[in-house]
């Protein structure tokens, strides 16, 4: 087990290197730091001095890959590639364009993101499984058919509609909770968190229920279920004792894969509800074209994704004794 995990972590290194290279190419080779500077300073009437000045204050005044006349360090370390890209590997994200430390911002903004993402995941999971069980219990009847059609309809509605509609109905017409905002203390922020959590759940219920129904139906058609029925078990018992337990294997391992990504938060929900999480952080960075933050988030997201993959494999061995990692 330990050897397997070590190997997987080592496998992750070339992948992260690839991610790093892609972001490096996108941000520094396709567009030179000069282009970036001009874009930030406004396109027209910019002197070369202003561009150089901007580059210097933001630390882009170095050669890309190889520095023939290094001011500090050696020819390879005093370059943009080393300073901006390689340092991501030790999670040193540097500073944003406005001078704030990205590491500090991420550590602060992680918690509001989790405050929304965790309840959405847990409550959503329970709801989806419940609905899927009900639909699967009544499979091949009109309840099943209607349920699936409702799922498809829910899936076809844009997530933006849920957010805008929810804000309008709950906050503006009925005045139940405030439209948006956030509070530092946990108890005071609950009233801000309720609506985004509910909308997050509703937004995922269609796709989730349908997906879990497919898993349940697939499981119901297996041999051991027929055996269980043949020995005279009630349908209820078959469903809850046998089918649910076995179907939980793919469901839970699927959930494990997304757990690390919860840190990244939800882009649009956080931005609409004014929650200072990592999702709105990313959106603000994209809108203000702060490449340093976008680069950091790309890298962080990839790391979390790979952690999710490793966790999935480990969780398989924990819940399913048939699978062994060699």
């Amino acid at each position: 087990m330990f050897a397997y995990i070590t190997r997987r972590v080592l496998y992750a290194v070339p992948i992260l290197f690839g991610v790093n290279l892609i972001t490096f190419i996108l941000f520094f080779v396709v567009n030179s730091p000069d282009d970036m500077a001009r874009m930030h300073l406004g396109m027209r009437y910019i002197t070369q001095e202003a561009v150089d000045n901007w580059k210097q204050t933001h630390g882009y005044d170095k050669p890309l890959l190889y520095n023939s006349a290094p001011k500090q360090g050696n020819a390879l370390s005093d370059t943009i590639f080393y300073q901006k890209s390689v340092k991501l590997f030790v999670f040193d994200f540097g500073s944003a364009d406005d001078g704030r430390n990205i590491n500090y911002d991420i550590s602060q903004r992680m918690w509001p993101s989790l405050a929304i993402a965790v309840p959405v995941l847990i409550i959503g999971l329970l709801l989806n499984i419940t609905f899927a069980m009900i639909i699967a219990f009544f499979r091949a009847t009109y309840i099943d058919y209607t349920g699936v059609v409702i799922c498809v309809i829910l899936m076809s509605i844009s997530s933006l509609f849920y957010i805008i509609g929810g804000q309008y109905l709950i906050s503006k017409l009925l005045h139940i909770v405030p439209i948006s905002g956030f509070d530092v203390s946990a108890t005071a922020s609950i009233k801000f968190l309720i609506l985004p959590v509910i909308i997050g759940i509703i937004g995922g219920v269609g796709a989730g229920t349908r997906w879990y129904r497919t898993i349940f139906i697939e499981e119901i058609n297996k041999d051991y279920v027929r055996t269980a029925r043949a020995k005279g078990l009630m349908e209820r018992k078959v469903l809850f004792k046998h089918v649910l337990r076995n179907a939980l294997v793919p469901i839970l391992t699927g959930v494990v894969a997304v757990i690390p990504l919860l840190f990244m938060g939800s882009l649009i929900i956080e931005s609409f509800f004014g929650i200072p999480g990592l999702g709105s952080y990313t959106i603000d960075a994209i809108r203000s074209q702060d490449f340093a933050i976008v680069r950091s988030m790309v890298f962080l997201g990839s790391v979390l994704y790979i952690v999710g993959l490793i966790l999935t494999d480990i969780s398989y061995t924990l819940v399913d004794p048939r699978i062994r990692l060699g």
Binding site: P14, L26, F161, I164, I268, I283, R295, V298, G301
Partner: protein, 495 residues
């Protein structure tokens, strides 16, 4: 094969003919945008597939299953209506400037317009000053109006909406009712005529009596659910006729901030939605198929490299990869303004690029599926036998593997469509979607959402965009479900 070539030839002729007629009649300059070319290629591809599939039973059978399902057919009709508008909106040209026509070098307006724009010029040209609600006769915001007695603060009359009414307060309700009835009558007549023709044609085709065919259609006692198809078609026809009836006199869905007709904007957005839904998967399809099949078939280092590529790409969060790429493109466009003759060409490049980037994020999933399927196929007896006979790799792949993974490609392409249409709206909100000058539902929502804070709310732009998107995505979802059920061997078709 002969029929195959002749149909494609006819299509090309129709397309070229259509363009030349327009160019000749309006003295315009044809513009082939990048997405137009790809759309035309796609249409060619689909029509050749249709002709090809007709002679192959194994391809025809699953499609017959799709065509038998009423819900899927109803969805298909709606999809075709969207596609029809999208295609009309994909033939672009620039009209020449009248004043300089006699000069040696012709100059053209900066506006790239499409056939669709010509057909809906009444909608396009009826520009008001600002917001007005659906069927309104007055502007939504107060303005200083000059009357004979002096200036008053009030809601001024619209320039076009309800301009034919003398006393809009009293006459409007009556006028709307009359127009509704006229529109419904015209629409019903047209629909009945189409129904009659279809049934007549079906009767002739089956060598049956007209009366018997009517009975069959009404009782849905047929192979293809004609009843449902005609009913769906009827609904579309009625809505179309109603809209046409009103479009001259009112703004059916109101106007937006700068006074543009919302109906026109929503209709123009159809093309963007379809382009993103289809071209995205199409652009990346060759790579996904080639790499996936190669990885599965050859194994070894090829497999390692391909796996490395797709794991790396899929480990980058999709939105962030898109954002990073679009931001880079923005810088590139901003620094090279001389490359683009018109705004539309610039916007089109961005649309194409967005498709490509979206394709990269969805490409990896298909590649992984194809690799797995090829791994399975490689071990099957017939492939092993082919190998033992000394058949080359190229031939094994094209003859034995590709035809047997095509159903996966089809399912993925169809399933991806709806999520891509939805993704466009979200990306436009984030600010990394289509160009702000491109008409799209995402841009409509994005510019209208702030108006929800107004009192009373400006709801029509939002609702129009959401409804148009919802209908398209729902039909696509329903249709793709049927396609998946038909082509996926894992799903039992008896259900």
């Amino acid at each position: 094969m002969k029929r195959f070539i002749s149909i494609i030839g006819a299509l090309v002729l129709v397309y070229v003919g259509l363009i030349s007629i327009i160019l000749a009649s309006t003295n315009a300059k044809f513009v082939l945008l990048g997405t137009d070319a790809l759309i035309f290629l796609l249409v060619l591809g689909i029509s050749s597939y249709t002709v090809y599939a007709q002679s192959k039973t194994h391809l025809l059978e699953p499609w017959k299953y799709v065509f038998r399902r009423p819900l899927a057919m109803s969805a298909l009709i709606i999809l075709l209506a969207y596609v029809f508008i999208g295609l009309l909106d994909s033939i672009h040209f620039r009209t020449s400037l009248e004043s300089v026509q006699h000069q040696e070098t012709k100059s053209y307006t900066g506006d790239v317009i499409s056939i669709f724009d010509v057909l809906t010029s009444t909608l396009k040209n009826k520009q008001e000053k600002s917001y007005s609600s659906p069927f309104a006769t007055h502007l939504y915001v107060k303005e200083t109006i000059e009357t004979e007695t002096g200036t008053v603060r009030g809601y001024p009359r619209l320039k076009f909406g309800g301009a034919h009414l003398n006393e809009p307060e009293n006459d409007r309700g009556f006028d709307i009712i009359v127009s509704t009835i006229i529109g419904l009558i015209k629409g019903s007549l047209f629909w009945i005529a189409i129904c009659g023709l279809t049934i007549f044609w079906l009767a002739g085709w089956r060598k049956d009596k007209f009366k018997a065919q009517i009975q069959m259609t009404l009782q849905a006692d047929e192979f293809i659910p004609t009843r449902v198809i005609l009913a769906t078609f009827g609904v579309i026809v009625l809505i179309a006729f109603l809209v046409v009836e009103f479009a001259d006199k009112y703004h059916v869905l109101g106007t937006d901030k700068v006074g543009q007709d919302v109906l026109y904007l929503a209709l123009k957005s159809i093309r963007t939605g379809l382009v993103i839904g289809t071209l995205t998967t199409l652009i990346m399809l060759p790579f996904a198929v080639a790499l996936g099949v190669a990885a599965g078939h050859f194994g070894g280092w090829v497999d390692d490299v391909v796996q490395y590529i797709y794991t790396t790409l899929s480990s980058i969060p999709g939105v962030l990869l898109i954002a990073a790429a679009i931001l880079s493109l923005q810088v590139y466009i901003a620094n090279n303004p001389e490359l683009f003759e018109t705004i539309s060409e610039r916007a089109d490049l961005r649309l194409l690029f967005l498709c490509a980037i979206l394709g990269i994020t969805s490409w990896t999933g298909l590649c992984r599926l194809l690799r797995g399927e090829t791994l399975k196929l490689r071990e099957l007896e017939y492939v092993q036998a082919a190998k033992a006979f000394g058949v080359g790799n190229t031939k094994i792949i094209t003859k034995h593997i590709l035809p047997n993974v095509m159903h996966i490609v089809l399912i993925v392409v169809v399933l991806d469509f709806s999520s891509l249409v939805l993704a466009e709206a979200v990306l436009s909100y984030v600010g990394v979607g289509v160009d702000p000058s491109t008409n799209s539902w995402g841009n409509m929502i994005n510019s209208a959402r702030l108006e929800m804070a107004r009192e009373p709310v400006v709801w029509w732009s939002l609702v129009a965009a959401f409804v148009f998107m919802f209908v398209l995505v729902l039909s696509a979802n329903l249709f793709s479900d049927a396609v998946r059920d038909a082509f996926d061997p894992k799903v039992s078709r008896s259900k």
